[in-house]
């Protein structure tokens, strides 16, 4: 399956903690591999812009929000579980 729609993703992290760094790396890897040229990933440090947490209903950190395509999904955790991350993004699992 080749996704055609543009992916809008927001990743909420807390500075450069190991958990956040790990999450950023995992999300980038998946995007590069599955969504080359088709995604828009914004990384938000909640300490810098706390007000943004409310609009996406963020409680847990890290959280990746898939804004589009619908449905909206929240991937919570350091994204080390690649299978769950792919499921959440609606992408086919690796072979």
């Amino acid at each position: 399956m080749i996704p055609t729609e543009q992916y809008v993703l927001r990743l909420y992290v807390t500075g450069m903690t190991p958990r956040s760094t790990r999450a950023i790396k995992c999300v980038r890897d998946v995007c590069e591999q599955h969504l080359m040229g088709q995604y828009d990933l914004e990384i938000i440090d909640v300490y810098q812009t706390p007000s943004r947490l409310v609009q996406d209903q963020i409680v847990a950190i890290p959280t990746l929000v898939k804004c589009t395509p619908a449905p909206i999904r929240l991937m919570v955790g350091d994204m080390s579980n690649r299978e769950r991350l792919l499921t959440g993004l609606g992408l086919p699992l690796d072979d």
Binding site: Y12, T14, R19, R22, A23, C26, V46, Y47, P50, S51, L53, V54, Q57, I58, V59, A60, I61, P62, T63, L64, P71, I72, R73, L74, M75, V76, G77, D78, M79, S80, N81, R84, L85, T87, G88
Partner: protein, 505 residues
């Protein structure tokens, strides 16, 4: 621990408290919730947790200059605002004035995929941001347990909640954390393990088809507190915990006397009548003239220009006034002048606590000098003996503190010995007048006597009386020793020395 014992016995060394502003709650907590610490508020669904918590925030913002943050996990801001509008709270306005900040936290498991380790730093940052935004001193989390429904990793959740409560303490937030009552433990998620400063339990139950809400301070570290279950009400003025004023016996005992409305009865009471701000019990079987005696009392008070509030639990005001007019006591003129107010209600309409609140409310509105409750007996059918007694105690204390003279008519059944049936309430009364009827020959003969009257000389004589076209008339005293003498003359102040009354038969 020694230190703790010392704190419990010495009021002055008690921890700092943040008043809730909720009538009654600050009395039973001796000043409010522990300032700068979290308090757990546990109760079943519909027990009033949210309303109590919101009252705490609103009162804090409006009266104590302590802005508050509410993290609501279940209700949206608009729903919440609608719910508390009936209590007279305008949440939107408070939010605009930056005295209140409400953040609706929505966590939906269906939308969430858990992909590894996480923490709740997002929640912490939101809360911190909100606190800074308005300079909050108070926080309410309602109901944070909802997170357990949204996130699966309970290990993480528990560790983070523990961290959150510690975090709130470190920031000196006076916080209310609401929780659902659990079946096997106090709260469903065992939050009582984490919040250890103060625990309050709310309860809503229905007995004999009458619903009662109750509040209990389960635990309050470093402070004394009332330990009973106290009824509370959610009324039009917000939350009210009863008793409002029943913990202290500090009311004044004025020496002023007021007339019973019958000069002859005044004569039996040391020539001057009852003490002002005292309580009078009037007992007798049906048709002996209790209401008529009460009417005389009220008539005299209104004639002096005093305000009277008459609680009727059996008749309508119109019926009662008609009956009294036929006995020559015209009460309607006092109603027209605004001196006499009737408050008529069926006793079974509410639970006892609601009655007490209604009565409090009426007394506060009318601000009377004299109150009559006719008959108090009808209220007794609404609750158990203990409930009635505690309700009456609270009512009497309330009236005494306001300097109100109160008369309670009580109906006794003819098969009971009058003086023992009243054991329940008589000790709360300063004066006690008994009326009775006998059949002598072919007519009913009525008589009355003063069974007790604290702090004054009173007659021991049983006096016959008649109903005439101008009310009750006492027949001449048969007592040869003139001047209404008791066996032992007693003086003093009403309500202080419970001088034992001896009955003259």
């Amino acid at each position: 621990m020694l230190a703790t014992d010392f704190m419990i016995t010495n009021h002055r060394s008690e921890i700092a408290k943040a008043p809730t502003g909720i009538p009654g709650l600050d009395e039973i907590t001796h000043g409010g919730l522990p300032a700068g610490r979290p308090t757990l508020l546990a109760g079943g669904p519909g027990s009033g947790k949210t309303l109590l918590g919101v009252s705490f925030l609103v009162e804090g913002a409006q009266r104590f200059n302590e802005p508050g943050v509410l993290l609501t996990f279940e209700e949206k801001v608009d729903e919440l605002a609608t719910d508390v509008r009936s209590l007279g709270y305008d949440l939107h306005k408070l939010c605009e004035e930056k005295k209140l900040l409400i953040d609706y936290v929505h966590v939906d498991r269906a939308e969430i995929e858990e992909t590894g380790e996480y923490d709740l730093e997002g929640l912490f940052v939101r809360l911190e941001h909100a606190i800074k935004e308005i300079g909050a001193k108070r926080v309410m989390l309602d109901t944070i347990e909802t997170l357990f429904g949204g996130l699966k990793d309970t290990g993480i959740l528990r560790a983070e909640l523990r961290r959150l409560f510690r975090w709130l303490r470190d920031r000196g937030m006076t916080a209310i954390i609401t929780a659902e009552r659990g079946e096997n433990q106090f709260t469903r998620q065992g939050l009582e393990e984490y919040v250890t400063d103060a625990v309050i339990s709310l309860d809503h139950r229905v007995e004999d088809q009458i619903s009662t809400r109750r509040i209990r301070i389960v635990k309050y570290r470093g402070s004394t507190h009332g330990t009973n279950e106290y009824p509370f009400l959610i009324g039009r003025d917000g939350i009210n915990v009863l008793p409002v004023t029943s913990l202290l016996l500090e009311h004044d005992a004025p020496a002023e006397r007021i007339s019973t409305g019958l000069p002859a009865l005044d004569g039996m009471l040391g020539g001057k009548g009852f003490y002002r701000a005292s309580t009078v019990l009037l007992t007798g079987t049906a048709g002996t003239g209790k209401t008529t005696l009460s009417a005389h009392f009220v008539d005299a008070a209104c004639a002096r220009g005093e305000k009277c509030l008459y609680f009727l639990f059996e008749e309508s005001p119109q019926q009662m006034m008609r009956n009294m007019a036929s006995a020559g006591i015209h009460l309607k003129r006092w109603v027209d002048k605004g001196l006499l107010t009737f408050h008529a209600e069926r006793p079974n309409k509410h639970g006892l606590e609601n009655h007490l609140l209604e009565m409090h409310h009426a007394v506060e509105t009318v601000d009377p000098d004299v109150v009559v409750v006719d008959p108090i007996t009808n209220l007794m059918t609404v609750g158990s003996n203990a409930d009635v007694r505690s309700m009456l105690t609270r009512l009497i204390d309330f009236l005494k503190t306001r300097g109100v003279t109160a008369m309670f008519a009580s109906l006794t059944s003819s098969t009971q010995v009058a003086e023992t049936t009243e054991a329940l309430i008589s000790s709360l009364m300063d004066s006690w007048v008994l009326v009775a009827a006998d059949t002598e020959g072919n007519r009913r003969s009525r008589k009355l006597y003063v069974l007790k009257s604290r702090g004054m000389q009173h007659s021991d004589e049983v006096r016959h009386f008649m109903f005439t076209s101008h009310g009750i008339e006492l027949l001449p005293s048969e007592d040869k020793t003139e001047g209404a003498v008791t066996v032992a003359g007693r003086t003093g102040k009403a309500g202080r020395s419970p001088a034992r009354a001896r009955k003259g038969k």
